[in-house]
Amino acid sequence: MLNNGLTLENISKRFASRPGSTTQLQVLDNIQLDIAPGEFISIVGASGCGKSTLLRLILGLDEEYDGRILINGQPIAGTGLERGIVFQDHRLFPWLNVEQNVAVGLKNSPLSSAEKRDTVREHIELVGLQDFIDAYPHQISGGMAQRVAIARGLVNRPSVLLLDEPLGALDALTRARLQGELQNIWAKEKITMILVTHDVDEAVFLGDRVVVMQPNPGRIRRILDVDLPRPRNRSDSRFIALRDDVLSDFAELH
């Protein structure tokens, strides 16, 4: 289980409740999770349960925590190209066009410039934006911008792609379409994906397992296996049963 996967060992994280204050806020409490290579993990939870904080720790943007994060058995140190990310806001550079924005992911890759160009093109095609290669972020829709961000996240061929509510800001129709595309990309690239979302439907639709988190302090409430064939059908009774099961966790919390 340890090799080739991602392991979270006793992850805890505290913030000072106010800068300089000694009272501390427990954001994450003893998170334990083993993720197999190529697995799709959905993390759901109400806001404030620390799910985005957890993702930042895995990404390496925040290095102040207790516990260990291991990739392929090795503890992580800082950010690394083997971990990609798609943020909720696309975070494209407004002064670069689609192709240049995707190429940002390869800035420090050892590939030759010809290989870089081919890889960038390939990933732009993967997200279906080959006709918009020269467009600037303000010239494309929010859904398209998010697809560019997905291509940028994948272009390094990371072993883990982290998705921090990547579809949260999109309208319902675009979101449903991109959920389908995300699933196809995952099936094709065979990489580990960790999706943080507050949309239970999305979590069940995409995940091999759904990790339900709860706040105060942020911890794992339970983990559900989603043993349904893909692509999943949202009106399948088993899908509905699973979704309602997860939703019932939230009902109890209120």
Binding site: L61, T79, R83, I85, D89, F93, K107, N108, N156
Partner: protein, 261 residues
């Protein structure tokens, strides 16, 4: 009804001309009806004749090109130094702690308060004027460059960290492009200020040729026609520099997807 009330877009566009034309008409009436006996009230025709004499004379073109050359040298020296200083202040915490407080005090000193010192150090010639202009251009460039670099969205800096950008790659690839609109605002202000300062320098450091000296000539010889003509020229040059900067700004905003103001 509405057709009577609503003005066509064409007529609306010309509405801005109403005030100047009315002012000229009153001026014309005043000078022709003898409302004032003062020799200082010249007629519009007299100004037009003087304008024509000036435009066809070498002296005027020497003056205006001297002013523009001064303006541009001061602008380039001031903005170059301003960009360097602004980048250092915006990028280096150490430099900011060392120089920031001094610069913030320095920029509070009114530009014109420098004139006595500048004339002692550099005399009344071109060197002194260009030094004064450079100072005028420097301050807005430093302030806006530094602000732009400090206010790069942290979200974009995180993207650079995720992809392992070095410090240098982050500066060139993220911070400078993100700060560019603000840096441009600084350059724009420098262009406007340096032209204002050109006239100020020529007026206060009286020596040599320049459009400011034309203004002084007119005033010393009680030639109000020459004074008015020089004022119009100064306004037109200022307007052209402003228009030039606006065109550049629009192009840049379009590239950045910012709606033109």
């Amino acid at each position: 009804m509405s057709a009577v009330i609503a003005a066509s877009p064409g007529s609306r566009r010309y509405r801005g001309w109403v005030l100047p034309i009315a002012a000229i008409a009153i001026w014309w009436l005043a000078s022709h009806q003898g409302w004032s006996q003062s020799g200082l009230l010249v007629s519009p025709e007299k100004v037009a004749v003087t304008a024509w004499e000036q435009i066809t004379s070498d002296k005027f073109w020497r003056a205006i090109s001297a002013s523009l050359a001064r303006n541009l040298s001061g602008f380039f020296i001031g903005t170059t130094l301003g960009l360097v200083l602004g980048c250092l202040l915006g990028l280096s915490r150490h430099f900011e702690r060392l120089v920031g407080p001094s610069f913030n005090t320095f920029k509070q000193i009114s530009l014109f308060a420098w004139i006595p010192l500048i004339s002692v150090w550099f005399g009344l010639g071109d060197v002194a004027k260009v030094a004064f202009l450079s100072l005028a251009a420097l301050v807005p460039v430093v302030v806006n460059t530094c602000d732009g670099l400090r206010n790069v969205p942290p979200n974009l800096l995180e993207v650079a960290r995720v992809y392992g950008f070095t410090r240098w790659q982050t500066i060139i690839g993220v911070m400078l492009p993100a700060a560019l609109p603000s840096i441009f605002t600084g350059l724009y202000l420098a262009l406007v200020y340096s032209w204002l300062a050109t006239i100020g320098a020529e007026y206060l450091l009286v020596s040599g040729e320049g459009i400011g000296n034309t203004l002084i000539d007119g005033s010393e010889h009680f030639m109000m026609d020459l004074v008015l003509f020089a004022m119009v020229v100064i306004g037109l040059v200022g307007w052209s520099l402003n228009a030039l900067a606006r065109v550049c700004e629009r192009r840049m905003q379009r590239l950045y997807g910012i709606a033109p103001r």
